[in-house]
């Protein structure tokens, strides 16, 4: 009992120290790294939020969803429309005039984030009612279809969304502190949720739906709930991304966006919170780093012109390698714990002797 108490104290201390160190890092970054690297570090946090929310749907509750880009789009547009000033809006709507009720709405950024999450969650809930009766691949196809429908609606509701021109000049509210603050809140909620009995129940629905129903669990309700919560995360993530890049248009939220999130979740480990974080770091940095293969290469006197899209080819190969050699992803279903990390260090240390 005393040992358990000691371990807990040690873990809390270690957690506090690492959070402190990370805050120092966040404070150091803006003054010492260029804008490009800053954006990648920002994107890691946003992708981690999106990965976590998709993991809640796919990894924890076992619903194969390909619709996350659609909910990101909803979040990004809701937030952008709320933070843009009335003057900006009047200037931007060229094709058709902006809807009058929308023209004068202006809210603080935090409120727009919340609204983005809530509205994305609302649409997620609405869509989930008919489609969550499907299972497996059919669910994937249905969510993919809805994601495309959302994108096409956004393209065509010009008075509200400015159509295919998209929205420009969104204030860059997504600072490092903002994105990592949101990630911290998300992470805390996810960890607490998945450690509670509710987390057990979601995993039970994933593992064996019939047995879960027999155990008195309203599995449909649970799936709707998990899907709605996941869509909330998708909306907030989309809003953060819109405010980071400062320009959004419907083409940003194509199926490829969902694929990179899916990669994060699968590479990291389906059903592992830690996995989504690790996956986000890996996939986000790799996607940027692999841009070197698209640049022209000069070997001696030869010059090979850069092939756009080459990095995606290499990335697909890497993904195939993950699927062949480590199907459960980097973390599998395991979670990070200090004991595990320290044990790993000891094991490595022992082997080195």
């Amino acid at each position: 009992m005393i040992a358990a108490q000691d371990t807990r104290t040690r873990d809390n201390a270690l957690t506090l120290v690492s959070v402190g160190l990370f805050c120092v890092f966040l404070w150091w970054v803006p003054n010492n790294l260029d804008g490009y690297k800053l954006r990648i570090i920002n994107l890691i946090a946003i992708n981690a939020i999106l990965g976590l929310s998709l993991n809640l749907i796919y990894g924890m509750t076992g619903m194969f969803s390909l619709g996350h880009a659609g909910f990101m789009a909803i979040g990004a547009y809701v937030s952008a429309l709320l933070v843009l000033t009335p003057e900006q809006k009047v200037q931007m709507w060229i094709l058709e005039p902006i809807a009058p009720w929308l023209a004068n709405i202006h809210t603080p950024f935090i409120a727009s984030l919340l609204a983005a999450g809530v509205i994305a969650a609302f649409f997620g809930w609405l869509i989930s009612l008919p489609i969550l009766r499907l299972g497996g691949d059919y669910l994937g196809i249905a969510t993919l279809g809805f994601s495309e429908i959302i994108r096409i609606l956004i393209t065509n509701f010009t008075p509200i969304t400015n159509g295919s021109l998209g929205l420009k000049g969104i204030p860059s509210h997504t600072t490092l502190w903002m994105s990592y603050g949101c990630l911290a809140i998300f992470l805390l909620c996810m960890v607490r949720l998945m450690r509670s009995n509710f987390g057990n129940v979601l995993r039970a629905v994933r593992d064996d739906e019939i047995a879960a129903r027999t155990m008195g669990i309203d599995t449909f309700k649970m799936r709707v709930l998990a899907f709605t919560l996941g869509c909330f995360g998708g909306g907030v993530g989309g809003a953060l991304m819109g405010n980071l890049i400062t320009t959004i248009d419907p083409k940003m939220f194509m199926i490829t966006q969902t694929y990179s999130l899916l990669m994060i979740v699968v590479v990291g480990g389906l059903g592992s919170i830690t996995g989504s974080i690790v996956g986000s770091i890996l996939v986000t940095t790799m996607l940027e780093w692999l841009r070197i293969v698209e640049n022209p290469v000069t070997i001696g006197t030869f010059e090979i012109p850069g092939i756009p899209g080459m990095r995606m080819v290499i990335f697909s190969l890497l993904l195939i390698a993950v699927i062949i050699f480590r199907r459960e992803g980097i973390m599998g279903m395991r979670e990070f714990s200090w004991s595990w990390l320290l044990g790993l260090g000891r094991k490595r240390g022992g082997a080195a002797k």
Partner: protein, 266 residues
């Protein structure tokens, strides 16, 4: 007057032209251990599925009486509501939550009686009652595992447990839903004679400790005859006999159903 925990009234279940259960009626006394037997394909598991809400009967109904005397009709309720009413079951082919630990499996069983809502666990230190309940569930689940001799497996994934332990874990999980009525689908399947002998005592112990009424489907006649106070025999969906073990053993129709006509007349 005997009080009945479960009354099955002329239940018929048809799949298109096939009659899986044909006019089955059973009255199960409260606190008893009873059995439902029959050759393969006789409709036993279908009857279970009707009682637990997985199938809607084409005709007839099932009534459940609580310990406090309150009676409700459970036909038409979805499986999770049947469970909430107080009926828990196990499966012929074990259905555990394979990736979760034994302890988590049992905790999932407790969820149906849990009052705290999911969002109460999001913020620490606010919803004290929900947190206390959560701790209580963890403690009770551990106690339940200990009582069923599964404590050593508490933190092992359910799929890694030995076969017999998996069977007991499934029962532990069913007990976690705080049932008044337990349905066991072939609890002795795949057990050797020593194990099934132990199972006999275990089932009786369960009934006494948890104040249950138990209905079991079983092929192992030693188990059925040893533990059941009353037996119903199904053949091709129709009830062909019922009575205490001695009556069933000597019933020519039962012998015929199991061994063929000649054996019955020999």
């Amino acid at each position: 007057m005997t009080q009945y925990a479960l009354t099955v009234n002329a239940v018929t279940l048809r799949f298109g032209g096939l009659v899986a259960v044909n006019g089955l009626s059973m009255e199960i006394p409260m606190g008893s251990i009873v059995g439902l037997i029959g050759p393969n394909g006789a409709g036993k598991t279908s009857a279970f599925n009707v009682i637990t809400g997985f199938y809607q009967p084409s005709e007839g109904c099932v009534e459940f009486t609580h310990r406090n005397g309150h009676t409700e009709t459970i036909t038409g309720l979805p499986p999770h509501r049947v469970c909430a009413a107080g009926l828990a079951r196990t499966f012929q082919n074990i259905r555990l939550f394979a990736n979760e630990t034994a302890l988590e499996n049992v905790m999932v069983g407790s969820y149906v009686r849990q009052k705290g809502r999911w969002w109460m666990n999001l913020v620490p230190y606010v919803f004290r009652a929900a947190e206390a309940e959560q701790a209580e569930i963890l403690k009770n689940s551990m106690t339940l595992l200990e009582r069923l001799g599964l404590a050593e497996y508490a933190h092992a994934p359910a799929s890694s447990l030995p076969y017999g332990a998996q069977r007991r874990l499934e029962i532990a999980r069913a007990l976690a839903t705080k049932p008044e009525f337990l349905l066991l689908d072939e609890p002795a399947a795949g057990m050797n004679p020593q194990e099934s002998a132990r199972l006999l005592a275990f089932i009786r112990q369960l009934r006494d400790d948890f104040d249950l009424t138990i209905l079991l489907i079983e092929h192992d006649m030693k188990v059925v005859m040893g533990v059941c106070e009353h037996i119903w025999v199904l053949d091709q969906g129709t009830l062909i006999a019922q009575g205490n073990p001695d009556q069933i053993k000597s019933d020519p129709r039962v012998i015929e159903a199991y061994l063929g006509k000649e054996a019955a007349h020999a």
